[in-house]
Amino acid sequence: MEDFRWIFQFLGRLHPLIVHFPIGLLVVGLILELVTIGQKRQGLRQGINWMVYIGAISAVIGAIFGWLLRTNDDYLGELVDLHQNMGITTGALAGITAFLLMRKMKNKASSYIPYRIGLTLTVVCLIIAGHLGTNLTHGEDFLSSVLPGNTHSPDDGKAALLFAELNQLDSLTTSRKDQLNLEVRKIFAHNCYQCHSENKKKGELVLENKAGVYKGGKGGPIIVFGKPAQSELYRRIALSPNHEDVMPKKGKVLKNSEIALIRLWIESGAHWSDQTLKLFPEAPLALSKPDLPVNSTEKHPVDRLINSYFERNAIEWPEVVDDKTFIRRVYLDIIGLLPEPKDIDQFVVDPDPDKRSNLIDTLLGDSTNYTEHWLSFWNDLLRNDYTGTGFITGGRKQITDWLYTSLKENKPYNLMVKELVNPTEDSEGFIKGIEWRGVVNSSQRTEMQAAQNIGQSLLGINVKCASCHNSFVSNLTLEQSYGFASIFADSVLELNRCDKPMGKMAEVNFLYPELGNIAAKNKKERLSNLSEVMVKPENGRLYRTITNRFWQRLMGRGIVEPVDEMDNATWDGVLLDWLAADFLDSGYDLKHLLKMIMTSKGYQLPSVSYHDVAEIKNNFIFHGPTLRRMSAEEFSDAVSQVITPMYAAVAYSPTGELPASRIWHRELKFERDVLPEPGKRYFRRTFSLANRPIQSATVLISVDHSYILYINGKNIAQGADWKKVDKLEVSKYLSAGKNCIAIEGFNEGSIANPAGISFAMKIEYDNENDIIINADTNWKSTAVEPHKGWVGIGFNDGDWAKVRDYGTSNWGNLVNFSFDGPAGKFARASLVSQHPFMKALGRPSRENVTTTRDDQATLLQALELTNGAFFNQVLAEGADAWLVHYGANGQRIIEALYQRSLGRNPTKSEREIMLGVLGGQPNREALQDVFWATLNLPEFQFIN
């Protein structure tokens, strides 16, 4: 059987030939049939009959051959199925039609109508089958690609323009020839490298370099200098698009202007330029401060530049926003908090003409809040987080301390960059990268991560793409990125192409060698060199990149987008350069840069609405800031301010005072430490006190999930909310000699889950050292219910076990766990470790550098806001707190809610709607619902 398979295969391959018979015969047959309707042109009858018979037979054969083709050659997919079904249907219908015709001819049928219907259906199916067949052989966009509006070739115009320009010249100068050659090479790169590169060499032809192009391929040279017509290269690209030999390939050919350009190039001697081909636009590196427009109507430098931009684009200056909008905007942008109602009132009535600029100064001066707001931006940018992969095996390090301090003291940006690139112990986490245990892909070794992250975060260039192979989004080569990565390596790196070693060693280099030499004998010196070279004023790229990021943060859209691709076109390069140069002149002062942008009228324009995100991304025209949505952190902090603290604990405590342990009974399974099972556990700690008068004794306690506290046998307190710190004065329960603290702890839930006790007691004496007792492993515990006296001093806990310190990572450090300082503080969201609520609202997991967040709402976010247990719990706690604070007074609550959340009074109709729900004497549920509705309003969630 196998021996005869070739016959079927052969017949199958005749399918494309055979199918043209029914197409020709049946279609023409139908046309002729139509013109005979009404007994006309009877002379055609015999001819039509033959056409239909032969057409039907060939349709059936075509279908059979098609089936053979499918079975014997590998054709798969839905399109093939469809084509096959249509083909078989066509064959069947054709047969039926022929049969109907025969019956009529033999006068067994009375009318032509059934036959004519059959023929029409056959032809319809035939056309569909034919179309599907075309799609199979020529691609699905074969037809649609030539329809108007379907040409997708941005540089079509460029090739055509260059051709038009060069073609009219009698002879070409060398520089013109260079230009022509580079354009031709660009065409090669985009269309031919795929097969004809050093790596693939199809037909032994390489079009990547001079030698390859001049040498030609398997069939000999491809260029006859000066003679396109005799050049194989030209012949192949100029063939008809459906010719088997056409290049790049059948169905996909070069554009006419590209073919003309290559012809012109060969004609003019196929000159090869010494310049390196740069396929992608590159922004200049150097930076000089542009002159400001003179005689401008505007005073502020940024506005003078925007004014010119507006003039060029025929845009009128809109009025700047009112004071209330302004104050909300600057508060959120500088310190990430909402202004208090009294601050708003004060600001609005302030007659000082400089009040806006003064407010900006004041807020920039609030360095703690500034830091705790901007920390999120820098954490995203520098891939720094409190939790995440890698920490578990020591493969990652935080730079939080360094970052917090740098922001707090407004460290000059050049210094920050130097310390990131050539790090101290505190800042080494950035270039250290993230390491998982085991071997990694060569493009993700930590040295390469350092290169990628410095490239992306600090220089706005994509090194990732060139870490596997030469980039196809920029001019970066694999060698360059390995050279860059080598700076961070202890030994010489071997180049790997797509994770395969190339047997070639990297040579240390920086992406921009013109800035200076990095090479040195060891890593330490190289890092030092790099840090010096990177921050040079000549490295305009470094300063443009951060300037553009700040602009993007404040205005919603960068001067260059995406903000990580700084080679892209600007919408106003002079503006970017001036701001970057001014930033440099200011002594690399990040706050100066913020102030320069924020004091401009440009920043204070009303926010602009867009129907579609594409309008912001492409062909952008600046009219003012875009409408921005609050970030996860901004939203959280705003809720904490307005309703009730959302988070009680931070992952990073700037002052470092908060306790770092929670204790619980040690639980084992198969001799391993595991999470505690639900249930009651009993804890004891005994200690002795000297016989001295105690001035005060304060206990701080928080237990997950609940506790009963005993001191010396007396029940002192209980609590069931680990987020609240219970602060108790207990001196009267203590006595000289032996004392005992006993805690009955309870772990809720149906499965094992984290539980822990945070405890501290400070006993103060007059003029003597305080005594502090913490939750530590001096405590003892048991899981077995002890007999009654266990809370007393005399109880023997000799058989109890030492507790285990569970750390605080599951809870964080409670900001109110402090003997002094005001209670009721909330944890700034930027200091809280990644939380499911913030994650849903778009805070990224910082496994990679993230420089922009998606601010479009998603269903998952809305679900979290609508039925998320966490958010609803916050609302419930908030409602209780408000009812205590404001009393059950609907009017008062509505006023307060509007002022605190939206910075204004409710309108009459808003007041009515609210009152309709709250009533004069609101209950907690109604209040929760009113909170929920307000916090989800666009007016609250957007920075207008």
Binding site: L79, N135, Q444, C465, Y610, A857, L860, A862, N867, V917
Partner: protein, 478 residues
Amino acid sequence: MVMETQNLRRDFIKKMTAASIAASATTIPLTSFLSSCTPRFPKIPATADTVILLWMAGGMAHTETFDPKAYVPYKKGVESKRVLSTFPKVPTVVDGLDFSQGLASIGGVMDKGAIIHSYKSADLGHILHTRHQYHWHTCYEPPQSVQAPHIGAWIAKELGPANPVIPPFIAMGQRFTVGEAEELKAFHSAGFLGSEFGPFLIPDPSGGLDSVRPPQGMSLKRFEARFKLYKELANQNKIMEAGSDYQRESLMRSMEQSYRLLHSPEAKVFDLSQEPKEVYDTYNTGRFGLGCLMAKRLAMNGARFISVSTEYEPFLGWDTHENGHTRTVKMKELIDRPIAQLIIDLEKSGHLDRTLIILASEFSRDAIMEGRPGELVQDQVDQPDIIENEKFYGMHRHFTNGSSILMWGGGIKKGLVYGKTADERPCASIENPVVIDQVHQTIYHALGIPPETHYTIEGRPFYTTPDGMGKPVLDLFG
């Protein structure tokens, strides 16, 4: 992120409703004819609509479960190197296929599915379970320069929900408060596809209902009134007057959508108390068993991708660093009954044909070998040469060169045994080795997702399997 494949199928269906009604009246498959003009990648016919992944977290030894070797009973003083299996073999319903003792129920449904004996996990050097799990679930080895999506997220993105009310990607049974939690979170993620396609997490299936109904303690009436208040206020709001804005609209739209979801009667699907007591009891071997029960309910009601994990917690579950034999007995009790019942129930209800069920683990275990033959992998387990204590009787080291994957339904051949491992140590894959790219592409193939599906992220194409090179194992399909 530049999108190169849209959710064409869904969009298309929406737009074409009228046309398809018209077309269904004729013999011409008009919709299909037109749709062939739209997608960029050639579509392939789907044999499954839903996937259930039964995840044996922690490294399940193939020699102790679905691919038993010579049984060496425990005896004080037995040599470790002699121990190939610690259980006797028991025949399954399929001729020539034996399982290890304790898996009789699953053995009884093997005529409805296939077993791959020859899965080879990646060799990622020094073992870190979550790193291998990341690799299994995303097909990419961490770390990556962009966040790789979980296979469930790819499927959610490409196919969308089968029932608009059931989230397309649901992951059950894994808590994120255990050791290696951050690493677990790293792959329970939609990565660059966007959180919209991320997993809907249900750590404890018995409380699944809470995640899809109005907030706890809120009556339906109050829930409706609250939303009405919101709409009224939003319409009053001055910020809404400034013409249309994509951001504002996306916020209002998503709020509306979530309201509809939470308001829908389908939420009952998540309520296990709706099951008759005897069914509940059959499944209830613990959280994993209840996860299987929930998976059954979800699969019958239009979920896309469901995973049920035995849960990874370092050194627990299948991660047997000691007491391997006794702990494996427990693990078998946990999985055997509910998995078999799931297959039987789905077959009975007619859903098995279109539901692809996969049982897999990140790698296998062995008494001696760490990693794979010929690779130097750091030992992580102390295993004595002579076993003097039953604690050391079992498979305690991590073996990456052969493990079993079971598949049922969704077009998978019935009663098929694919691939083979050696009967003597190392019990490595010696016939038809299968790697993760193939496993993913096999799943995508069953769902009709073309192998070259990819998106451009940061200027680079990112494929479902690295470089789009993975190929499905077509021999597995019936």
